[in-house]
Amino acid sequence: MADYKDIIASCKDQKGGIIEAFHALQQEFNYIPREALTEAARVFGISEAQAYGVATFYSYLSVEKRGKYIIRMCESAPCHVAGADELLKAIEKELSIKVGETTSDGKFTLELTECVGQCQATPVITINSEPLFNVTAEVLPQVLSAYK
């Protein structure tokens, strides 16, 4: 695993780029580890409390450990009418977790999201930001099996 200090340092020339650094950290760790947040605050010249405020503001950033794959289920109106609720229930059942939880093997974390801008093929889920289209309860096990 890359060192969080190097990851943060690679973003330091972007003025105000702490969110970029958070993205880069999440690329590696899937969340923002505490010591990395402290380091990022230092590098970007803001307080830890401020950095924490930023990290907790955005729904795609997390300061809590998450699984290897983050499944985000879109809930916005176009997906809602396309059956998002049913799909969500199917995912919860399939993985035996509720929204916000991580599977016991640390593989999947399930989150809700608002519109991901792929409304040509609803309902949509994303796995680690990759959109998957027209997902139904029937195809779900097959879709998830592609993620090891």
């Binding site: 972007q14 003025k15 105000g16 780029g17 702490i18 969110i19 970029e20 958070f22 993205h23 970007f44 803001i46 401020q50 405020g53 930023v54 503001f57 955005y58 729904s59 795609y60 950033l61 809930e75 916005s76 109106a77 176009p78 809602h80 009418v81 809700l112 999201t113 608002e114 519109c115 991901v116 801008g117 792929q118 409304c119 040509q120 093929a121 609803t122 994303t126 930001s129």
Partner: protein
């Protein structure tokens, strides 16, 4: 007239948007070259007289917006809003995927007009692949020398609808919580890092190359007189053809749904259509013959907004959908101002109560009162717009509510 008119998307899928050279071969970067030779004042005037109005939501004349930027400021920024978060909207993504170079060229034209050599594109966190595409496109354009000394940096959001609001977007680029600022000062005077900043939407910038190439009069002659040009729409919901279209702005809503969209899915009847994203008003069938331009939409209490067109068939439960929409706003409120932070929360509570059949007329009265206060007292557009779906459905679909209350 029921045809698409493709200006921005004319060469969709015919060129690789990441390769500047391909864009040049179809006449790209001619507009920028022309702009660079013009006096900045004349350039601003040219854009102004084209009648181009912001495609982001507020519909402000782009040239006019630029003219507010103080000439004497040493540093100025051009910022592109690619945070399209309105549910049902993905037209900026399409424009980037099909014609990213036009966006870059448009930003550089704006740079020439306001004397700025630094641009930022703020791309929503849901589109990491667009960030990659844009970075490649910028690299290619820089290597070709097409952008001259104009530089563009791409920054990625991280899941916050409110960052589509221009001052929240600026805060986010600065590395802060994406909370909107109060205005004035407007970004044109004090924006990114406190210096004058023009913030326009992807689609607005992408219109500029053709305006410069073909002339302001050409553009002004397309579509609605007061909101000229074309508009990229995305059709979602109960439609037979859930995809994007580019149409002139005098195109009417009925044609979007029935001609381009091929009608309501399953041959059902239409109950409602919501235009402009999830903050838009619900439009009943009776208003379908309205042109989509900004002012015509405004006249029926709706808004063109992002150009999302969400179709709901006769079987849809309006209260359930609005209840879901109220959850969206609760989730996306930044929490800075009281009317929005508390209001969106209570709106969701009341909508869920109505939806579950436990509410009374008193609850409807309470939510209408709350909506009125949010609209007039919230700090930014999010809190002001959040009650619109509620109000418009209580107005146009009262029977749907009446059915659910005790």
């Amino acid at each position: 007239m029921a045809e698409e008119m493709r200006v921005l998307l004319e060469y969709a899928d015919k060129i690789n948007p990441e390769i500047a050279d391909e864009y040049v071969k179809i006449g790209g970067y001619v507009g920028l070259e022309k702009a660079r030779k013009m006096d900045p004042n004349d350039l601003i005037q040219e854009v102004r007289s084209s009648g181009l109005r912001g495609r982001g939501g507020a519909g402000f004349n782009a040239g006019m917006k630029w003219s507010f930027v103080p000439k004497n400021a040493e540093i100025k920024y051009v910022v592109c809003n690619l945070d399209e978060g309105e549910p049902g909207t993905y037209k900026d993504r399409i424009i980037c995927e099909k014609n990213a170079q036009a966006l870059l060229e448009g930003m550089a034209i704006c740079g020439a007009a306001i004397d700025s050599n630094q641009g930022y594109i703020y791309c929503r966190g849901e589109y990491p692949f667009i960030v990659k595409l844009l970075k490649n496109a910028i690299k290619s354009a820089k290597e070709l020398g097409a952008l001259g000394d104009f530089n563009i940096e791409v920054r990625m959001g991280a899941g916050a609808y409110v960052c589509g609001e221009e001052t929240a977007l600026i805060e986010s680029i600065e590395g802060h919580r994406g909370e909107p600022r109060f205005k004035p000062p407007f970004p044109g005077v004090a924006g990114l890092w406190g210096v004058p900043t023009v913030v326009n939407n992807v689609e607005t910038f992408a219109c500029l190359p053709s305006i410069l190439t073909n002339g302001a009069a050409w553009f002004a002659g397309i579509g609605a007189a007061k909101y000229p040009g074309t508009k990229v729409l995305t059709l979602t919901g109960d439609t037979n053809n859930p995809t994007y279209f580019e149409v002139p702005t005098d195109y009417i809503l009925r044609d979007v749904i029935y001609k381009l969209g091929g009608g309501v899915k399953g041959g059902k009847k239409l109950k409602a259509v919501q235009v402009g994203g999830t903050s838009g008003a619900f439009i009943p069938e009776s208003n379908l013959d309205t042109p989509i331009d900004f002012d015509s939409m405004g006249a029926i209490g709706a808004a063109l907004g992002s150009g999302a067109v969400f179709v709901m068939d006769e079987t849809r439960d309006i209260v359930d959908i609005v209840s879901r929409i109220s959850k969206f706003f609760e989730h996306e409120s930044c929490g800075k101002c009281n009317p929005c932070r508390e209001g969106t929360f209570r709106c969701r509570e009341i909508m869920e109560k109505i939806n579950s059949g436990k509410a009374t007329q008193k609850d409807i009265d309470n939510i209408l009162l709350l909506s009125r206060v949010m609209k007039k007292a919230a700090l930014c557009g999010l809190g002001q717009a959040a009650p619109i779906p509620i109000e418009s459905t209580i107005k146009h679909f009262a029977d749907e509510y009446a059915r659910k209350i005790v």
